[in-house]
Symmetry: C2
Subunit: 324 residues, 2 copies
């Protein structure tokens, strides 16, 4: 049986020997820098896992899978400018290490290189794959725009939030699985199931991210636990709490999110306490389960031998149980 680790090694080896471009260095070095920061690369892994269900020879899916990862990193390079983020994967972001202009232009050429990696797809599949990729890529931008719009609003509903993370995060996971299926030779019904599976798991994945930021084990999480609370980031947990809180609890929550100066640990503990009081943790965990289970159901419905589906299912379960 194929091991995810084996596929990851293959991906790493291919990324390591990709130069992205030659001249001028100022344009391509930031790409090599960002791509070398050891991202988890689970999006291209999903593509390979998906392709390997339908085709033992999943080599043809490598370059398309890389396109997904390069596209994802392009969005990170540009989002980090927009979010004014100093760090990415524990290292300086490109706009911090160089400057915003470099991050804009290197990001642009990354998007072009992502398209270039899709050209290996069989000619008869190319048009439909690109059409789906274009749709997905535009949706990711739409999600980022909604996320920025939400910064100015305090009345974001749960439904609006789920739609935002669906666009910003999930559609690319859905397309990563769908793409593997298409390249592997799956039929339309199967690629649709793969997309739906990825879309649902992607929402679960982002909600898990929101949860870990508040309830993660500081030893395992990698990032500062409570970062979202400190910055008033409109996560699923905060949106739920704002909707549920009443009376004095609501007043306390509002007091913390409007406070200009505060002790960080105190704020994190206080807001986490409010979440506990309102049952937000449990509600978030239930939502995560619901979305992941819905994803698993789609994968189980796939008309393929269950031993071929096993590696993908196993990896998907790791995503639910992750602690970082």
């Amino acid at each position: 049986m194929i091991q995810p680790e084996q596929l990851l090694q293959t991906l790493h080896a291919h990324f390591d020997k990709t130069p992205y471009g030659n001249h001028p260095d100022e344009l391509y070095e930031p790409i090599r820098y960002l791509m070398s920061l050891n991202g988890k690369r689970f999006r291209p892994l999903l593509t390979l896992l998906s392709a390997s269900i339908f085709d033992e020879n999943w080599d043809g899916a490598i370059k398309p899978a890389m396109a997904i990862e390069i596209f994802h990193n392009f969005t990170l390079m540009h989002d980090d400018i927009m979010d004014n983020a100093p760090l990415r994967r524990g290292k300086a972001t490109v706009h911090e290490k160089w400057n915003a202009n470099t991050a804009i232009l290197s990001g642009d050429v990354m998007l072009i290189k992502a398209y270039d990696h899709l050209l290996d797809i069989k000619p008869e599949l190319l048009r439909s794959v690109l059409s789906r990729f274009n749709q997905t890529a535009a949706e990711v931008c739409e999600g980022q725009q909604l996320d920025m719009n939400f910064e100015m609003r305090w009345d974001v509903t749960e439904a609006e939030y789920i739609e935002m993370i669906r666009l910003k995060t999930s559609v690319l996971l859905g397309f990563a699985l769908e793409l593997g299926g298409i390249v592997g030779g799956a039929n339309d019904e199967a690629t649709q199931l793969l997309y739906t599976a990825g879309e649902n798991m992607g929402i679960g994945f982002q909600l898990k991210d929101d949860l870990l930021d508040v309830y993660g084990d500081p030893e395992k999480f990698g990032k500062q636990v409570g970062g979202d609370i400190i910055s008033n980031k409109k996560t699923f947990l905060l949106i739920e709490a704002l909707a549920k809180a009443e009376g004095s609890v609501k007043e306390e929550l509002n007091r913390w999110i409007t406070m200009k100066t505060f002790d960080k640990t105190e704020k994190v503990n206080a807001v986490r306490g409010i979440y506990d009081q309102l049952g937000i943790r449990q509600r978030t965990e239930e939502k995560i389960s619901t979305y992941f289970n819905s994803g698993f159901t789609s994968l189980e419905q796939l008309n393929a031998p269950s031993d071929r589906k096993q590696p993908l299912l196993q990896f998907a379960h790791q995503l639910v149980n992750r602690e970082q």
Copy 2:
């Protein structure tokens, strides 16, 4: 015989009914704004003129031609952020009217929409067109990076400058003509000639831009004459003058380009005077003629009835003689 004006009308009509996307408005409105600023749209016009040489029915070239113009406007939206430009076509740039984040993200989605407009190309041609488009698009970014690198340098050579404008401006004009040929059914020899013609005319076009900025008729030019001199922009004229000036002329030129405060009209007149003394105008005009003539020669070599080539040749001659 086909009239360029007729093709332009068709293009305008198609752009006017293109929404680019729906939701959220914050993402797509800046695209509609920039695309409505009445650019000259001569790049997509070149594509249609080129296609119409080989195919009386040039309808199939409209969406690919639009891709070229959308791509060009994407580069403007991002370049204007990098260059801190307040105005574009006499109106506020997107990052001025909205903000830099909006200009980054709307620009990103524009690039995706450019790719989307290429998908109408016949499936058997799609892969090779996209491969050439990717190469061209990356080269345009490389040219912009070189242009930014040159801002920090005073030793840019003529050859380096020509290579920079070839990448930043000419390759897209070359590809615009090549694309029309491909879609119109031209053979490889013809598409290669079209590319070379566009590449050479593109260099001539940019040099003409540099020249008009110094010697243009203020009544006709549209922009402030002398803007490049005021900002010490490293144009062909300044690079030539820096290379040619000696003794007291060199001292005077250096004095003007290092001066922190100055009367704008006085500086423009003084530097223009130095250019006159050094014969820079004549040298630039000769270069412009050389590149355009080289482009015309390629077009004349095209194996197509000369009445079919006439509209393109006629339009190319307008580009040489333009005064704005």
